[in-house]
Amino acid sequence: MDIVPQLIANSLIAGSIYAILTLGFNLTYSTAKFIDIGFGVETAIGGYSVFYLCKTLGLPLYFGIFLGLFCSGLVSFLAYRFIYKPLRARKASGTVLLIASLGVLTALQALVAILFTSQFQTLSGLIQANRVFELLGGTFTAVQLSIFCTVLILSVLLAFLLKGTLFGKAITAISDDEEVAKIVGINTERVMGEVFFISGMIGGLAGILIGFDTGIEPIMGLSWLLAAVVAAIVGGIGNLYGGLVGAYLLAFAENFGIWKISGEWKMAIAFGLLIIFLVWRPRGLFPR
């Protein structure tokens, strides 16, 4: 049996998850200009919110997903409001913010583990049947198909938000020159709080989808975040659409890389790609 179609399918699925995460990561990076490691934990917040609301409390699935997205957005907003915002007001460097966000990730994933134990959980029981499709020799499930569709919808929505709305123009202005944006009277702090809320929702969305596809655990955040950071750097950090290319490139490199070598090397392939880019093309494929 030819393995190539399945490798392509796997790459597209993994790439789609990376793409969602990279969109969320780049959104805060391009406005707040620091690497927000805490973004990773929103996957666990979103996933476990749905787990708790739908599996434990038995709420309807769509309602649970809606609340799960809201929770992850809110957690991200609160992290900005009470941790990143005061630090930025004191002109803390990007390194200080990065370490603070690492603290956010560590503290929140510990909290999730205390509440839900650190056992691996899955959301797949919440949907009746996960249909399996076959296309040109590769198989994928309905959940995986919806992950792929989510990327398309999310990209269009974000493009509309950024290019088509007044809010998006304020975001672009802040990402171009935050100091001037303040001086011309843009409420940079409110806009940034909303950006963190949206990016938290995107992280939560990825976590929920991961929960349906494979499963969730409290410490899932860091490895997904690292993939998103690699994809963002490959695509050109802060560039939303470059990040999409980076995400799929990373997924194809990983999945085709383990064609001939053992699967444990997946992470090594990702970081090999990162090193190649940092050495030869540090500003990524599409620099901002």
Partner: protein, 254 residues
């Protein structure tokens, strides 16, 4: 009849032990164009940066309209006090179009409101007015990053004009700092800027200008403030101040 609108008291700022602004007490009159002159490094730009909150003060006080006293100026608040400025090294929103550079100043909505509202016709009309005045209306769809140097300077002034038309921040801008607005402009572009400044004066707005070109200073200024080594050397009407011996010595060197 004159009245002070902006005042500093014992303003002090040093950078690594070098005094950039040294216990400076100076006041600016409402509705006038005041030029700040002085040799390079005399503290002109630092003064503007302090007054607009770009650089924190070390000591001293800023008083706006006799009633607002500050020992810390925050850049996100200055627009609310009616202050705005241009920059010596032009600073625009590079990834936005010329039109959006103006609209983003005139309007700003939260994420939910912005999904349901677009720019009001009022805002578009205001943007059209200021861009036409600066001769940039034809360029409205280009990204700011693609403009020529002179056009960039004009767009920055258009943004200031937009702020004088908009009370979105609570108060339309009525104190404007121009940091070398004429530098590198072609003569015809200079004329546009001169006429804009004269119009703003006719509207009763206060303008504070940092400039090197003596001819323009004489033409535009109602008052001249001379700084030297971060201290006030002289202040008064241009002809008197520019004729003073110590000013000529400080400004022209030996």
């Amino acid at each position: 009849m004159t009245s002070t609108i902006l005042q500093t008291k014992h303003l002090f700022k040093h950078f690594d032990g070098v005094k950039a602004v040294d216990h400076l007490s100076v006041s600016f009159e409402k509705g006038k164009i005041t030029s700040i002159i002085g040799p390079n490094g005399s503290g002109k730009s630092t003064l503007i940066n302090l007054l607009t909150g770009l650089v924190p003060l070390d000591a001293g006080e800023v008083i706006i309209a006799h009633s607002l006293h500050f020992t810390r100026v925050k850049s996100h608040e200055v627009a609310g006090f009616g202050l705005t400025r241009t920059f010596q090294d032009v600073r625009l929103f590079e990834q936005l179009s010329v039109l959006d550079n103006i609209l983003v100043v005139l309007t700003e909505r939260g994420v939910f409101a912005s999904l349901f509202e677009t720019h009001g016709t009022l805002h578009l009309a205001q943007a059209e007015e200021v861009l036409k005045k600066m001769g940039l209306w034809e360029k409205r769809h280009s990204l700011a990053i693609n403009l020529s140097y002179g056009q960039r300077k004009l767009l920055e002034i258009a943004r200031v004009l937009a702020m004088t038309r908009s009370a979105r921040t609570g108060r339309a801008a009525d104190i404007i700092f121009f940091d070398e607005p004429f530098a590198g402009l072609f003569p015809e572009m200079r004329k546009v800027v001169v006429s804009v400044m004269k119009e703003l004066r006719a509207e009763g707005r206060t303008q504070i200008l940092v400039e090197h070109n003596m001819e323009l200073i004489r033409e535009l200024s109602d008052e001249v403030v001379v700084l030297d080594a971060g201290e006030l050397l002289a202040q008064g009407v241009p002809n008197e101040v520019l004729a003073k011996r110590e000013v000529i010595e400080a400004y022209l060197g030996e």
